[in-house]
Amino acid sequence: MYRNFLGEFEELILLTVALLNGEGYGARIVEELAGQTGRKAALSAVHISLYRLEDKGLVRSHLGGAVPERGGRSKRFYTITTDGMETLRSMRDVRQSLWKLIPSM
């Protein structure tokens, strides 16, 4: 199977997209990341990662309507694809199997 290698930051973004369940877009993801992990990510980094993830087929996006709070700007909502879910799962599995191998102290 074709395997995607994700960087740590991309993995976090992908997880956040997954947990927002189709409601995730740039600003929301930045806020969520800050809320959940305390990490202040640059918006540019988030956007670039989202585009990359989309190129790799791990997320999908669609344009939402414009809202006045955003100065009439539209949102691009991201949803995780099955490939994305698959990748997350396999990454978690690999980690867990590695964790199990660490001798307990």
């Binding site: 740039g26 918006l43 540019s44 956007h47 709070e69 100065g71």
Partner: protein
């Protein structure tokens, strides 16, 4: 959309807008706005602003192309829309692409690029030098604080016979009178320069130092700062002298010069009351010491006033007007000062000449400044422009010629959606890159040739690297040249139709005259005009130099009266003659090359009032002047006070003077001089000789007998001796009778040659420029012919295979270029003829325009062009046809 209260800085938003395509920008800005509002509420506007800036900067990193490539929407675009949309190009990316492609081009066509940048950098160097020189001359004398209020008072002779003449000197009492009488005049200063003093400090003596007597206001009017001493008082003390720093060093070494005493000649002394900073080079005054005017009056035996003093224009006088004074009304007030005070209505009037024009205008026509240095500035400015134009034409020609090779590239670019503007941008970037490389090169060349140029133009130019204005000007100049050089290829090439290019039809040129031909003709026309100009200037200078002077200047030296020479003149003369050092010695009042003293004060019998307004040049003689100077006597005899005791009031006149006075038999007639009507008897007539500028026609001359005054002497050395031996012996004689001074003499032939300095300058410059023009033109022709030979390489090969000879092929390739040069010759000859006729009109004594000058220039241009072109065409004709044919 509602109006928002909190908006992040506009320029940050604009930056973002440039960086991202429409879609990505929409999302990102929305996100930023949303988060900005949150931060602004939580932490204040300022912090949120900083955060916003940081985020925007984050987007300047490399981004996925999907975020930057410009599309209107993600849906599939038709071909048409794609072409329209392609004008939304990210400018940063495009410019970096332009530069990249340009650089590759530059490296790829090394030969062409070299020709281009070499021609351009030579032209830019010429232009740079000329612009620097113009700047220098333009700002001459402009360091004075009061420069806009300073004027020199001029005299203007009454318009009698012909036009009136402007005289840069006025009567001595005029300055003080103006200051007393008119409120508009804030200050006036008279300046009389002198370099004949013998200065003595302790036992050392110094001569040949140039300085001046000035009125005390001089230092208030002109900005010559003092390093030591009080500027307000220094010149107002009796027995004061101001010296410059470098003179102080020469006289006193490293000791403090202030307060020290300098003995001047044998009869006076002065105390140094101030040390001046050295006068800057771009100053009209080049003095090393200043003495108060009172010192001059003491030497001259009291200031001259009264009606008689108003009849002599002998003092340069400067006026500083009050800031609110009106020049025109003041001019009318001083106009008739001399006439009123001298009590005569037929003498000169006065006008003020502003400082701004002193250096640029030295010639006058009926009292209006008409020319001088400004002519040279105009001519050379024009020539610099033309040379840059020639180099730009090279660039255009080579780019368009190469375009045929690049046509496919352009076709591909266009079909891939490049807009015309993008292609223009590409070509202009290429031009800009080439010009920039050339500009850097030309800065280097300028540094190398600057010392030579400085000595040629007698200027002290330096590249003002430290001045920001210079860099801005340079960049503007480069951009302008790039635009000039790049605009034609940009418009011409970008207009190609892709369909035509791929059908291979575009190469056929239907127009009978192509722009390229026009440009080659232009180039060569300019070059040929410059060649003709150089030849005419050379001819004119040679013509005046080899003019029959009317006197013989071989072995003739002139010694100015300094110290005791005048007193001991009879003894010196006798000893020089007795020892066989000299064959003839005479004294006179002024050197021949100085033009004598101009006088309007002569009257004669049956005079015509029109003629008495003509200036007559005065010289004087004691005896043997005809023999000493080698003049030719036409009638009568020489003045000789040693044989005829009545000769103290004898006078010699020249042919022109005899004609002016209308005497049938001049010998024995009387001339009356001045208000006292002193009578002079004409004893002889001499042939016209050149007095003053060798470019002027002979002027009327009188040589007065010993009743006149004297200031210099001529010595004709014995030709039987070597010049060095004769000079050594003379030095001995002068040492004996004038021990305080070193023996200083001038060779008259060298003094004569000195008068051609300005013309020699023009000659050298014009020569260089015509060499440059023809060289740059040929450089272009070389590239063009190489290119066209390469284009026709298959045709040449086929012709050779079919039996064409090398000669016929080279003729085929060269003839078209030579035709263009021939057209250029036809255009340039009338232009040059008109221009050079106009130039020659500046000179009263001038050569005519010989036909051979034009023929020579035409032949030269043809020969050079032929050599250039035939080098390429013979190379092409000799090439092996199998090599060029087997590629297909």
């Amino acid at each position: 959309m509602q109006e928002r209260k909190n908006n992040p800085p506009l320029w940050l938003r604009f930056l973002l807008r440039c960086r991202l395509n429409e879609q990505a920008h929409d999302e990102v800005e929305g996100d930023l706005q949303e988060l900005y509002d949150v931060y602004a509420k939580e932490q204040g506007k300022l912090k949120a602003g900083w955060w916003y800036a940081k985020q925007v900067i984050g987007f300047l990193r490399p981004l996925p192309t999907r975020m930057t490539r410009r599309y209107k929407s993600q849906k599939k675009l038709s071909h048409h829309q794609r072409i329209i949309n392609s004008s939304y190009i990210n400018p940063l990316d495009m410019i970096s692409n332009f530069l990249k492609i340009s650089w590759r081009r530059f490296k790829h066509g090394k030969g062409f690029s070299m020709i281009n940048s070499m021609g351009l950098s030579i032209a830019l160097t010429a232009a740079l030098l000329i612009l620097m020189w113009i700047r220098y001359e333009w700002n001459f004398d402009s360091f004075h604080k009061n420069k806009d209020r300073l004027y020199q008072v001029y005299g203007l002779t009454a318009a009698g016979n012909g036009e009136s003449q402007a005289i840069p000197a006025v009567p001595e009492p005029l300055g003080p009178l103006v200051e007393r009488q008119f409120a508009e005049a804030e200050a006036t200063a008279r300046v009389k320069s002198y370099d004949g003093f013998l200065f003595r400090v302790a036992d050392r003596s110094f001569t040949g130092i140039k300085g001046a007597w000035v009125d005390p206001a001089f230092l208030d009017m002109f900005s010559f700062p003092l390093m030591q001493g009080d500027g307000n008082r220094a010149l107002r003390q009796a027995e004061a002298i101001l010296i410059t720093g470098s003179m102080a060093k020469r006289l006193f070494g490293n000791d403090n010069a202030l307060g020290r005493t300098i003995r001047i000649d044998s009869n006076s002394q002065a105390i140094v009351t101030g040390i001046l900073k050295d006068f800057p080079r771009d100053s009209r005054f080049q003095f090393e010491f200043l003495l108060p005017w009172s010192h001059f009056e003491r030497l001259a035996g009291g200031g001259s006033t009264g009606a008689e003093a108003w009849l002599r224009n002998n003092t340069t006088t400067f006026v500083q007007l009050r800031p609110d004074a009106a020049l025109a009304s003041f001019n009318t007030k001083i106009r008739n000062l001399s006439r009123v005070n001298a009590g005569r209505n037929d003498i000169w009037t006065h006008f003020l000449f502003p400082l701004r024009q002193w250096h640029l205008y030295t010639e006058f026509e009926n009292g209006e400044p008409s020319g001088g240095l400004i002519n040279m500035i105009r001519i050379f400015g024009l020539i610099a422009g033309f040379i840059v134009l020639i180099a730009c034409i090279n660039f255009m020609n080579l780019s368009t010629a190469r375009s045929e090779k690049r046509a496919k590239e352009i076709g591909v670019r266009k079909t891939a959606g490049a807009s015309r503007y993008a292609l223009m941008g590409q070509f202009l970037t290429e031009a800009w890159l080439t010009v920039s490389v050339s500009a850097v090169l030309s800065l280097g060349i300028t540094i190398l040739v600057l010392p030579y140029f400085n000595s040629l133009m007698d200027a002290s130019l330096s590249i003002p690297f430290g001045e920001w204005r210079f860099w801005i000007l340079l960049i503007a100049f480069v951009s302008f040249t790039a635009l000039l050089a790049g605009c034609y290829p940009a418009f011409y090439l970008s207009a190609f139709k892709p369909t035509g290019i791929f059908r291979k039809q575009f190469r056929k040129q239907t127009a009978s005259i192509t722009p390229r031909q026009v440009m080659v003709v232009t180039q060569f026309s300019i070059a040929i005009v410059l060649i003709i100009a150089t030849l005419v200037i050379r001819e004119q200078v040679d013509f005046a130099q080899s003019r029959d002077r009317g006197y013989s200047d071989k072995n003739l030296i002139r010694v100015d009266f300094l110290g005791d020479i005048e007193k001991n003149y009879p003894l010196i003369r006798q000893e020089l003659l007795n020892s066989g050092t000299a064959i003839s010695v005479s004294k006179t009042l002024s050197g021949f090359t100085n033009g004598g003293a101009r006088s309007w004060g002569f009257r004669w019998k049956a005079e015509n009032p029109k003629d008495t307004n003509t200036a007559i040049s005065m010289f004087s003689a004691d005896a043997d002047m005809v023999k000493t100077a080698g003049l030719q006597l036409l009638a009568g005899r020489d003045i000789d006070i040693n044989h005829y005791s009545t000769d103290s009031s004898a006078v010699l006149i020249n042919e022109t003077a005899a004609k002016l006075m209308g005497f049938k038999d001049p010998v024995g007639q009387l001339l009356f001089q001045g208000a006292k009507r002193k009578a002079w008897t004409i004893v002889g007539v001499v042939k016209d000789f050149v007095s003053g500028s060798p470019f002027d026609l002979a002027s009327p001359v009188v040589i007065l007998g010993p009743d006149a005054w004297f200031s210099t002497m001529y010595i004709r050395l014995n030709p039987g001796q070597s010049t060095t031996a004769a000079l050594e012996k003379s030095a001995g004689v002068f040492k004996k009778y004038n021990p305080a001074y070193p023996f200083a003499y001038n060779f008259v032939d060298r003094e004569y040659a000195q008068q051609f300095v300005e013309e020699q300058k023009i000659k050298t410059m014009a020569g260089w420029f015509s060499v440059l023009a023809i060289a740059i033109s040929c450089l272009g022709l070389f590239g063009l012919s190489a290119y066209l030979a390469e284009m026709r390489i298959k045709e040449i090969a086929v012709r050779k295979v079919l039996g064409a000879s090398v000669i016929s092929i080279s003729r085929l390739l060269s003839i078209n270029f030579l035709k263009l040069v021939a057209v250029a010759i036809c255009i340039s000859i009338p232009v040059a003829w008109i221009a050079m006729n106009k130039w020659l009109e500046n000179y009263a004594y001038r050569t005519s325009l010989h036909w051979w000058i034009f023929a020579a220039a035409a032949l030269l241009a043809l020969a050079i062009a032929f050599t250039t072109v035939s080098f390429q065409s013979i190379k092409a004709a000799l090439s092996n046809p199998t090599k060029s044919l087997h590629t297909e």
